[in-house]
Every structure is written in C-alpha cells, then in structure tokens.
Symmetry: D2
Subunit: 360 residues, 4 copies
C-alpha cells in the first residue's frame, strides 16, 4: 500500500496501562496511523479516556485523546463498529492477550503484540524491525495456517532489545557463539503500579520472573533465519542474570560475547556504530542509527542516554576485550529504552514496516 | 599472646572518613582492642573528633570517642606519644596510604590497610580471614625483607569480598576455572561524599575506575596458596563488569562459574552453606557462617540481607545451573556489606586473627 | 493485673501486611505478650505464615512464627478456639476493620486498632501512651455503652505521632494555639505494595488522601482532656500539607507553632527534651525519652534518626523562632518512625499501659 | 535596539558547572544571542570545552560548543579579545562572583547573575521577568551610581521562583500579607557534585544553608515597587522551612497564604491561571503561561510537571482554603524547575527583556 493522505485506522488494546499510554503518545500525531478505538478492561467501558486512565507519563495526555470513550476489548464489536480498523496495537498482559489477540487477528486486524504468549509460536514473527524485518513474511504462512484475515506480530521482551540490536551487526560480521548477559532493568519494565517503592528504595532485586529464559530464547529467534514456515534459530548460547534497579526507564545489559571469528574491540565497535538497515530508511519511527556507540568511559547511563534516537536507538559503551574469550572475545554494555524501543515504539516501527512491505 | 584483660591499644588512620567511622563503630566496645589514637589530615589536628567529623552512619558517634582529640597522621609522633599502640587500622586513601602506611609499619605498628596500594605487593598478605588467614604468615618474611618492626596486612577491595567468600568453598571442593562476575555496587563504596546524587537518582553508572582489574587480580591472590616469600596465585580466569546502582550499602555480584570438576547447583549450594573456617571460631567479629545461602527466588537483596551476620556474612542466592558451562557450570548471586565485611569489619577480623596467631 | 510469668495471649489481625509484620517483630519475644493467633484474609486461611506472607522487613521472620497456621479473621472462631486470647493487635485496613474490630471487641477481646475507622468515635480512646494515657479510661464507659466485654483502643494516624508527641510538652507548659504543619512522609506509610516506584523515583507527591484532615482532627483529640463519656478536644487550629517523598520509613513534619504564652526557642526545646511521662516508666516498649531534641543544624533526618529509642522516640531539631508569630512563635522539625511509633509500636505500648492500669 | 539578524555576542561565566551547562543548552541556538566566550576557572583555561566539562545534562553538548576553547574569567581579557560581547551570563558561585561580576560590569558588559552576592544590593535589580521587569530600570541608576558601562541584573534564588510567580497575581488582585512556605527541593539546586548520594538515598535533609533567609527576603524585593534609586520592598511576612528531597530537578513549595482582602480558592486559582504579562509576549524564552494551575488532586509533581512551558512555567495545584486564615486564607502547592526557571532560563528571559527595553 502506498502512503496516502488516508491514514490507517488503528485500535490500542490495553490503552490505560503503562505501555498503552506510550502507544497513545507515539500514535496521536503519527503520519501513517490514526487512533480509531481505545480498548480497556470491561470496568472502564464507556468511560472517557482521561477519566479512566491514571496517566503516568511525563508528558500530558494528547488533547485529541482525552475525550475518547473506552471500548471493551471485544474484537467482533470493535470490528463491527469500525471495519476500517486494520491494526491493533496491543499492550495487553499475557492473561488477556491469550484470548484477545487471536480474536482480533481472526476478525481481520493485524495485532502488534507486546505480550510474551505467542512470541515463540512457530508461525508468529518476533521482530525488531532493523534486526529481522524479513521475518514479517511469516505472516503470509500464518494467515493460511490459522485461517486468519489478520495476524499477530510480536515484539520482543523489553530486555532483549538492547542485546539483540547490538548483537545483530556482530553476528553478521563475525558470528556470535556465546553471550553472558546481565541486566539492570528499570522499574517501568514491570508496568504500573509494578514494583513497589518499598522494594526499590535503597535496594536492588536480583530476580525478574521468566526474564532470563526469555532473554535466552528470544535472542536466538531474533537472530535466526527465515524458513518456509518458521524461523531457524541462531545457534547462540545465551546465559542471563536479570536484575531490577532503581531506575525509571532504560534497561542496561552487560555483555560478554564470544565471536566465531576473531575481532578487535575497535572492529566490533565500528561494526555496531556503522550498522544501518536500509529497509527502514525514512520510516517515521526509525532512528537514524540503530546502535549508537559512545566512547566516554562511563556511558551509556539510563537517565542520560535512554532517549537517544527518541528512545529508539540502542546505546553501547565500554567496548573492550573480553579476556576469557581471548581474541574471540569482546565485552561492552548496552542500553535501550524499555517502554519505547522495547515496547510501544518497537511495535509502531514494526507496523510501519508492514505498511511499507504491504503485508496487510 | 593470650587474650588478657589488657586490651591492645590501636590507632585509627583516616578516622573521619566513611570507613574510619565504621572502624570506630566496630572498635569502641571491642573486647580485644582499645582506641588510643585517632589520626586525620593535618587540618583536623587538635580538633575534637565530634567537631571535625561529618558523621554519616545511622548510629550515633560512640560517647567515648566524641571528645577525643585528633592527631596528625604522623607515625613517629603517634608512636612516641603512645608506644603501646600496636595496631593501626587504616582507612586512608591510596595517595595518603602510600607514605603513611609504611611509616607506621616501620615505627613498629601492624597496619591493617584498606587502600589498594600494597595489596598486590609480593610480600604483603591480602587477606579475608576465613578465606586465607594462612597468608598472614607472610608477615614474618615481610618484616625481615623490609626491616620493619610492624607490618602491613591488606584488606581486599570491597567488591571482591562477596565473590571470594563464595568461591572459596567451591574452589576447595570442585576447583574454579572461570568466572564471569558483574557487580551492582552501593554508593558507600565510593566513600563520602563519593557519588553525587545527580549521578544516581533515576540512574546507574556502568563504570567504576580500576574496579574490574582489582576484582580480577585480587580474587586470584586471595584464592592462591602461600609460598615462601609470596603467594602463588590461583589459576582462575575472572572477567568483571562493575556498575554503581542507587543503593546505600551492600554490593551485589552475579556470578557465572566454571568448575574444574562437575557439580550440581545443589552440591555447590551445600558447599557454600556448610563451609566453616574452624580457625576463626570464637573471634568476636567472625560471623557464625561465612556464607549464608538463601533459597527464596529473589534474594539476596542489598537492603534486606546486607546485615546478615552483623554485616560479616556473604549472602548467596539463586544457585542454579550455568548452561554455558554445562555440567561444570553454576550461577548465583552473592552479596556482601561493603563497608563492614568489605572494609572495616574485614580488617578487624584480620586483626583478631593476628592476635590469635600471635603474629605481632 | 500484676505481671506474672504467665504471658497474655494475643492475636494479630492483618498479620501478613506491612504493619502486621511489625507487630510480629515486636511481639515475638515480648515479656508480657505471647502470639496465640495470626489472622489474615480468607484466601490465606490454613497456610503456614512463612508461605503466605511476602515478608518485607529487613530482619527475618521470627523462627517461632514461621510455622504458625493463619486463621480467618473471625472473632467468634478465634475466641472459641482459644478463649485465653485477651488482646487483638489489629493492622486491618479500614474496610475490614469496620466489621471485624467490633466483632473482636464483642467477643471479649481488647482491640488495639491501627485503622482510622473508629478513631474519632466519641467513646473510643485515641491514644499515644505518653501523651494521653488517661484517655484509656474511656474504655470503661465504652464497654457499658456498647455492651462489649472487650473494647477498641485506637492508634493515631502515623503522621500525627511526631507532631503530637512534640506538641504535648509545649501545650502543657505554654499552650498551643495554631500550628502550620507540612509533612514529608515515607513510602511505608502507604503499606505494601503501597506507592509505586514509578511514582517515587525522581519525584515527590504533594497529596495523600485523607491525611491532612486526620492530622488536623486527631491532634486536637489527642491533646484534649478526658470527659465523662468523651474527650473534650483541645482548641488548637491545625493546618496541614501532606506529601510523600522517596524515603522508606520515618515521617518528617515541619512545624510552625503559635503558643498561648510567650516562650523562647530555648525554652521550647528544653520543654520537649526534658519531658517525661512517669506513668510509662519501665514499660518494655517505652523509650527513655519520648522526645529527643537534636542540636545539629541538619537533623533529624529520616534514615539517620528514625530508630532513636528503638523507633519509639520522636526526634525534634532546628528549634528556632517563628517570625510570623513573634514572641509567641516557634518553629522546628519533628520526625517519628511511622511503622513503629506511628503504628505497631504505638499499639504495643498502649497495650502495655492497659495491662499496667488493669483496664482489661 | 531592534532585533536584527545580527545576534548579540555573549559570554558564559562558570561555563562548566551545572548552571553553566544549562546556559549553554539554552543559548546555543538562541535567536537573539550567540555564545562568543566561555569562561571557567584558571585551571581549565585553554582547554576545549568538551574536554574540560563533566557534562551532566540529559541532552548532549551542543555540537557547536564542543570545540570552543575555555578562557579565564578575566573581564579585561574577554573584553579586549572580543569587544562585541555585550552580555555575560554568570553561573559563578558567590566567592567568584564577588570580584568577577563587578569587573565584567565595569568592562562594559551587562551581567546576568545567578549568585546571591548582589541580589539585595539597593541598586541591583532582582528580577523574575514577568513579576517585576520594571525593576530593570534600576540599571540606569546603577550605571551612574557605580560608574559602570555595563551592569548587574540578578536572578532570584531558585527556590523563590515558584512562590514569587504564584504570589504575584494574588498580590496584585488581593494583596498578600503572610506566607508560610515549606520547600521540598531538588538535588540539582546544590550544583554538581552537590548533595552526596549517601545523604539522599532513603533520606531527606531538613536544612539548606541560607535558603530560608533568602526565600523570606527575596520574595519581598521581587514583589516590591520601583523607587528612584532602589526598590520599596513589599510588606509581606514570609516564613520558610527548606528541605532537600531525592528529586533531580524541580522545587516543590507548599504555600499557606493570608490575603489582605477575602478571596475564594476559586478566585485565587483563576487569578493565577489567567495571569499574563503582556510585556514578555513573544520573547523566545517566555512561556505562554507564567503560572499553570492544575486541577488533579495530586499535582504538581516534580518529575511530571517541571518541564511545563519548557521549564519556564510555575505549576500550581491543590488550591484550597487555608483554615487558619479564614476567608482571607488560601493554600496550594507550587513547583518550578530550579535550573531552568530558577536559574539559567530566568537569566536568559531577563536578558531578552533587556534587549526589548533597549536597556544596554
């Protein structure tokens, strides 16, 4: 589909939650999309958005959205009321996503999901646009296999986005064999209200349920290659420790990487810094540079660097030798904004790419 | 020397700083030691302690210490005024320690140092009491070699204490070959004023100068074996990422460990939990258990666990398989109180052991 | 009743919550009380305490309490299973307290409540032990009026304890006419999970629902005089602004006070510092000094001073002239530990006083 | 002077500090000003800006500024090297400002000072542009009296800006007689490194040196009226408690205000919300609305509201009756961004007004 003056109508599912709010912030003036429905839980149905939401972002609710009435998360109803809605940006948690997302897909909408429920399903593309937009082609197979008019495209877990973006150019140039990754994750990764103050004041929590497994599995699917009906996972061994720290937004991840072919830290830094994805050029949400490599000794830092590329760039720093892997080793730190690149922004960019590829 | 009713007179060097304050807190009612001199920088000389110090601990200045007059950090003067002073607990930073600590050693005092300056010197014992108290015997050689009546015993870097305590029983039972360690360190590790609020509010800093190198080098010396005139370092490859997070006290370190012989996580947990050091039994500052292994999924946490064993136990949690090392791998998290076990408390326990061994 | 070797059996209501945990910590080795029942919501009934609770204190669950089975919050059942239970320490929120607390009172137990529901009821004593223990005598009237074998004694709102303790000696000596009070309250005042991290990182919240009204009303009842069937409120005008800040425990309140008779700041400081309540002398939970006045320019601070008197003393600082009230004015800052003095500890001390007065 | 395509050349004094960095951020693309000199302490002289500065803002150093060479803070030298420099934006601390600012004024430059040194000098205008831009006319007298070709214009203390902006419309419409103000101030108010993490983690500090006196004195000068050779202070009694809390930017101040004529909270809110200063209309740094009144129960909050009007609006909330002042009373909370409105942004707007008034 060519971009015309006619914007694509979209729904936001889970519109009152933390990620739903980011969707609204990113979509309200979007050149390609127009919010046509806001869905929330049944108890909010019929309420004005600004009355139902506990808005937590540091910018105000967009004026055009304040007065919109919330609808139930009912695919058939949404479709019947507005058959022009083509995309559904979903900020639903797993327990709601399990039923709702397939229902929206069946009703003809393309769902951009932030839940983990369908990420590892064989026929569901799990996509960070610059990393593996070719996986979006799985949608064709998915529709046939499931008999859906729409479909489901998944976002990665928010913690994976920084590591996957920074590993991609290394994997392309040198091959990646093993990764030791340790995250220091922001509070917003747990949604709202999420982590209690009493757990984070003067504290850090060395555990986030399910997160390490996701980081390990999703990295391999993201860096995998597209097969006929599924993805051939990359043969990368990933081991993760996931931790929560007293930061609002921005997940830091330390990376100790073993490459398949020897490369110096300088070569690795150049590979990451110079990497571009031509296919996303010009898309409204695509950052100029998917990975920005900083050279100061103490960067990236969450508060100071998370908004690089409007929150869509991964920021890498301290690229240096990893002594335990000898000439095949490199270590560095990577940061990505977890509610933008790792959630709403990632979905929006995926949707822009689906439009460019005319996959809907 | 038998413990008699006569306490050993001690000096505290750097008495007004963050670690100096911990020394005073730990020594003011100590059954074996008695504070006989408080030394600080020249500009504080002659002042009452409570007027010169900016006391930052959450307990009050001990009553008996408030009115003591500060002395210059002048070994000859301290010795001439009170020749009975046998030990000097040093919280001096490197730049002062370089000159002052040898001067106190030469003047006949045994210096328990928290500076990094002499840690890697061949004839200087670097000691965590339960881990390698036998290294204290280097003192005999040190005195001869340097012609000192006293000597220098070093504490490890505060970040090393948790990893070294938890690796020791693993190394004894299974051998340790490789370690990937990532720290989340407390603000107090940088002294006072140390880290600016503007750098830690809603932030984390992925860099602490010199820390990674220390963690790598000191671990090997600590787990090494005593030779005639020096330590034979353990052949362990350690790679570290060191980070600062918004926590007061307590350094968390994630550990991914490759063992020399296969062991299950359960065997590793048992090895750590069951480990005791008979030689320290009954020493006033020795915790009942050098390593406490917790089984909850989300512990240890700095605020909730740092005071285990009065801040002298390392606390380990999440002992689980390290997939990248197969049956030789184990991963876990370790925590130690950085200003107690990792600094003042570690020195005091070393001093207690020196008394028990009659090494002065 | 004389204190005998026979401890009084007590129940804890709301035993798994934040204040319930403080009750357990304070009661588990108490010389006068013995925990005989732990009550929680129905869904926890029958579970072991350590399995049902998300323990958030920085000390461990007392060993003797770990294995206790939770009971439903059913007064008749608790009484029939153990008729010896005389006291019920209630950490119930208002919505549960409304029904449950009168039920326990009717079943013969004396309820020490932390809910706000019955605080302003005419026949219910609202008591900070040292401030107005004589109000406990209302219990006699309450029992007759309500036909209860037991009764209800209320604790103040946690924010009130610091102001009320520091105003009491001023009111006694000089009379208090007007108070402008502004609180900076700790996160734990909102229970657990309470305030979301996303609301407190790099932030402060200038609003706590219902808190200002409570601070205004309860202060007057606490400083009021005992009548036959109710309290004659003190004629003090109190105006409050209540705020939440990123602190774990310890509510700071700035106080600008207009006195009825002129007094210098020094006289006010002396009045507060010298004030003792003879009636509480020797009670296990009573601090030596109900109000500690510090003279450093920058104290009290929540983290450094909240544990004064084991968390039972109010700490006052910066006592200085209040220019807007001329020679009748004084201003200062007051701090109290909100979950100890302002909640569980306050109730326990009230209970100790009830025992001493043989009011049950 | 009419605004021409020719920008006014300016110097930044104290260019490497926290406020200096804000000046650079605000000035680097400014339509009226052009940075022509960056001055710092002698030890930085000659260094490139990006090598000398420890940049702490969350945006990057402007590209055009990175490579500029730092100069000594030497008025004669700066003037001789570039006589076109007309304005000097000064972020100097008091101890440097005392000598340097008069020297720059004497050398012909108009100094926009953030130091407190000259704020209360009779012939120095202390100006928040919308509040009292007419006071800038004192400059004419100042130049004659001091024999300066340039001059000094002072900014208020950062804490005063929110209170003064919100009091101005109340004072105009109803008269302000008495104010009880309690601040919760951000860490950045103390510069960099400023407040130590160890003092703010899990803590609040109820004292900031000199701040209460400034808040009291400066408010009266700001709201005063312009006389021939000095300002006639407003007859307002202000009493302040100043506190530091764990917030990056944005000072909250609670206000309890006694008016000279009765007014309802609604009238007060309208007075503040509707207030505009026609004289600043169209100036680049002037916000659309100097005071924004919010109606949610829990706003303003520092993190969520400090950037209102690009950090130049004061944000007021919770406008409600002040019971202690009866029908003359109103209470509310006010917030201003301390390093923008309360420092660099305030100076830049003052400078823009000086240009509009052709006062240089």
């Amino acid at each position: 589909m060519a971009m015309t003056s006619q914007k694509i109508k979209v729904a936001v599912l889970g519109a009152t939650g933390a990620v739903g709010q980011q969707f609204i912030r990113l979509l309200h003036n979007h050149p390609m999309f127009e919010i046509a429905a806001l869905c929330a839980s049944d108890r909010s149905e019929g309420k004005r958005y600004d009355e139902a939401v506990h808005w937590i972002l540091d910018t105000d609710i967009p004026a055009g959205v304040r007065g919109l009435a919330l609808q139930a998360t009912d695919a058939a109803m949404v479709h019947s009321q507005n058959p022009e809605i083509r995309f559904a940006f979903s900020a639903l948690p797993n327990e709601s996503a399990e039923q709702a997302e397939p229902a929206f897909a069946k009703a003809g909408m393309l769902v951009f999901s932030n839940a983990s429920k369908y990420r590892m399903a064989l026929d569901v593309p799990l996509v960070i646009t610059e990393v593996n937009h070719d996986h979006l082609n799985l949608l064709r197979h998915q529709r046939i296999a499931r008999g859906w008019a729409g479909g489901i495209v998944c976002n990665t877990n928010c913690t994976v986005s920084g590591p996957a973006l920074s590993l991609k150019p290394l994997h392309e140039q040198f091959g990646v064999k093993r990764v030791f990754a340790v995250s220091m994750q922001a509070a917003s990764g747990a949604g709202y209200p999420g982590v209690a103050s009493l757990d984070l004041i003067d504290n850090a929590i060395p555990y986030i349920k399910g997160e390490e497994e996701k980081l390990q599995a999703e990295t391999c699917k993201l860096l995998g290659t597209l097969g006929n009906r599924s993805i051939n996972d990359a043969a990368i061994d990933v081991s993760a420790h996931c931790n929560r720290v007293a930061v609002m937004d921005g997940h830091l991840v330390t990376m100790s990487v073993e490459l398949a072919t020897a490369a110096t830290p300088e070569e690795c830094a150049a590979a990451m810094h110079d990497w571009r994805c031509a296919a996303v050029a010009g898309l409204p949400t695509a950052p100029d540079q998917p990975v920005v490599v900083r050279t100061e000794p103490d960067r990236p830092q969450p508060r100071r660097d998370r908004n690089t590329g409007h929150g869509m760039s991964a920021v890498v720093g301290r690229v240096r030798p990893e002594p335990l892997f000898g000439k095949y080793g490199v270590k560095f730190i990577t940061l990505a904004h977890n509610t933008i690149r790792g959630a709403a922004g990632g979905s929006v960019l995926n949707a822009e790419m689906v439009v460019r590829k005319e996959l809907f």
